[in-house]
């Protein structure tokens, strides 16, 4: 039987040779061996091979491999260093995680920092409010004579001097008597998105906000929505407070995760330092 004989037969013959075949398989194979000369020859060759291997010399070990007391003591001390790889790995992992936590903070902070900046600095709206001419100054500059009253546009919409209508802030300027070519000087700036107070703010009831628009009923209010200095100041203060509150809330939201991240970074740094130090001292002992 050559090597091209099916592997299964080799396995069966080999197992049969070692007495490892179960009864049904054994009987089947024995029946085949009686009929098949090639199979019988193959089995005989396997028997001879096994016999030759059985006569392989048993070599005596050249020396004793027992351990001396000194060797045993030395080996026992090295047993304590089996934590070295674990500690080293922990230190490396903690360092990597700490770096990751720092990067996370750097990624988060660009969101928080501009919010903090905007909360501390006046916004465009606030600046425009501050720069808006006060009724006081207008009154001071006003001529002594009673100004000519002009009903301009729809009552309640101030501004003027422009093709666009400015809504409700600042109020229109007075027109000097006899002057026909200067209209609406000192009018409010054009605000594309009219400022509106958030509806969820219950602390500022609508009644407390002074109305800057002229009375629609009789048209006898101030010209083009211009109010007195106290009213303007009070209104501006209310709006600025509201804006500042909104920005402060947004800033707080951005800063929520930062304290936890700091603690995580600190914890990881401690773990990395402690495990790294222990691992290093162990390694030094081994090197001695």
């Amino acid at each position: 039987m050559k090597m091209n004989h099916i592997n299964k037969d080799w396995q069966l013959l080999s197992a049969y040779l070692d007495g490892q075949l179960a009864s049904p398989q054994k009987e089947k194979l024995e029946a085949r061996l009686l009929k098949d000369n090639v199979l019988q020859e193959a089995f005989s060759s396997l028997e001879q091979t096994k016999l030759l291997l059985k006569h392989a010399r048993q070599v005596k070990s050249p020396r004793n491999f027992t351990l001396s007391q000194a060797q045993a003591e030395k080996l026992k001390s090295t047993r304590t260093f089996r934590w070295l790889p674990v500690l080293s790995l922990s230190s490396v992992l903690a360092t990597i995680m700490m770096i990751f936590a720092i990067l996370m903070e750097l990624v988060i902070s660009p969101v928080a920092v501009p919010l903090m900046d905007t909360a501390q600095s006046p916004t465009g709206e606030m600046l425009s409010m501050q720069s808006a001419p006060q009724a006081e100054s207008l009154e001071a500059n006003a001529p002594e004579e009673q100004p000519m009253i002009i009903q301009w546009g729809v009552p309640g919409q101030g501004g003027g001097g422009s093709d666009l209508m400015a809504t409700g802030l600042g109020g229109g300027g007075a027109v000097a008597k006899g002057s026909s070519d200067v209209v609406g000087m000192g009018g409010a700036e054009i605000i594309p998105n009219p400022l509106s107070l958030p509806p969820e703010s219950p602390s500022q009831p609508q009644d407390e906000i002074p109305k800057l628009t002229a009375s629609e009923s009789d048209g006898s209010g101030l010209i083009l929505g211009l109010r007195s200095a106290e009213d303007t100041q009070a209104y501006n203060q209310v709006v600025m407070d509201e804006i500042a509150n909104n920005l402060a809330t947004q800033t707080e939201r951005g800063k929520v995760s930062t304290p936890n991240l700091r603690w995580i970074q600190l914890g990881l740094a401690i773990i990395a330092l402690v495990t790294g130090t222990i691992a290093l001292s162990m390694w030094r002992k081994i090197q001695r």
Binding site: W10, T49, P62
Partner: protein, 204 residues
């Protein structure tokens, strides 16, 4: 009969004498397996020593059962490590140069023996050399099966315990290894009378 489990448990508690008794009990078997696997007595001695040192260092991982199987698994793993190391960094042994060795020997030395008797042939060093040479030509996994089953007479279950290899794999590896050895040792097989095995087995 030595109680290997009791000795192993004592060794685990720090009893060096108990460990050394176990070493003395199994060192010949361990060395023989290492020698057949590595084909070099010095490398085998080193591997055996390393294996027993590793066994002592890792006594805490011994979970009862056959200490022999546990330690033989360490021995075989050490041999595999050594074989891998040799493969990575092959070395050329420094052999003494003998006169008349300039000519290339086409056939192994054991083929020169013309007509030895079966008995003398079985005890000859030529057969020993031939077996070792044939073993070295085989894959490591197949070699280990032949060493344990055919040379050391272990049964399949014992081999499975010693190596962690499943029984089915042992059967197939052994069959293929024997088929290879059958061709490799053909010269010696032909010297054996056809019915030699039965007589030999009967006399033993």
């Amino acid at each position: 009969m030595m109680d290997e489990i009791a000795l192993a448990l004592s060794a685990q508690q720090g009893d060096l004498d108990a460990f050394n008794r176990l070493v003395l009990e199994f060192q010949d078997l361990a060395f023989n397996i290492a020698f057949r696997m590595l084909g070099d007595p010095d490398a085998a001695a080193d591997a055996t020593q390393s294996a027993f040192i590793a066994a002592f260092k890792h006594l805490s991982s011994y979970r009862g059962g056959s200490f022999k199987s546990w330690v033989l698994r360490i021995v075989t793993n050490t041999c595999y490590d050594e074989l891998r190391r040799q493969k990575r960094r092959p070395t050329t042994p420094l052999e003494p140069v003998l006169d008349g060795e300039d000519e290339e020997i086409e056939s192994p030395q054991w083929l020169r023996d013309d007509s030895p008797s079966p008995e003398s042939m079985l005890e000859s060093s030529e057969l020993e050399d031939a077996i070792q040479e044939c073993l070295q030509t085989m894959k490591h996994d197949f070699r280990l099966m032949v060493i344990m089953v055919d040379i050391h007479g272990m049964d399949y279950q014992e081999v499975a315990d010693n190596t962690g290899v499943p029984l089915g794999t042992i059967k197939s590896r052994l069959a293929r290894a024997r088929a290879k050895l059958r061709d490799c040792l053909q010269y010696f097989r032909e010297l054996l009378p056809h019915n030699y095995r039965h007589d030999s087995e009967g006399n033993q």
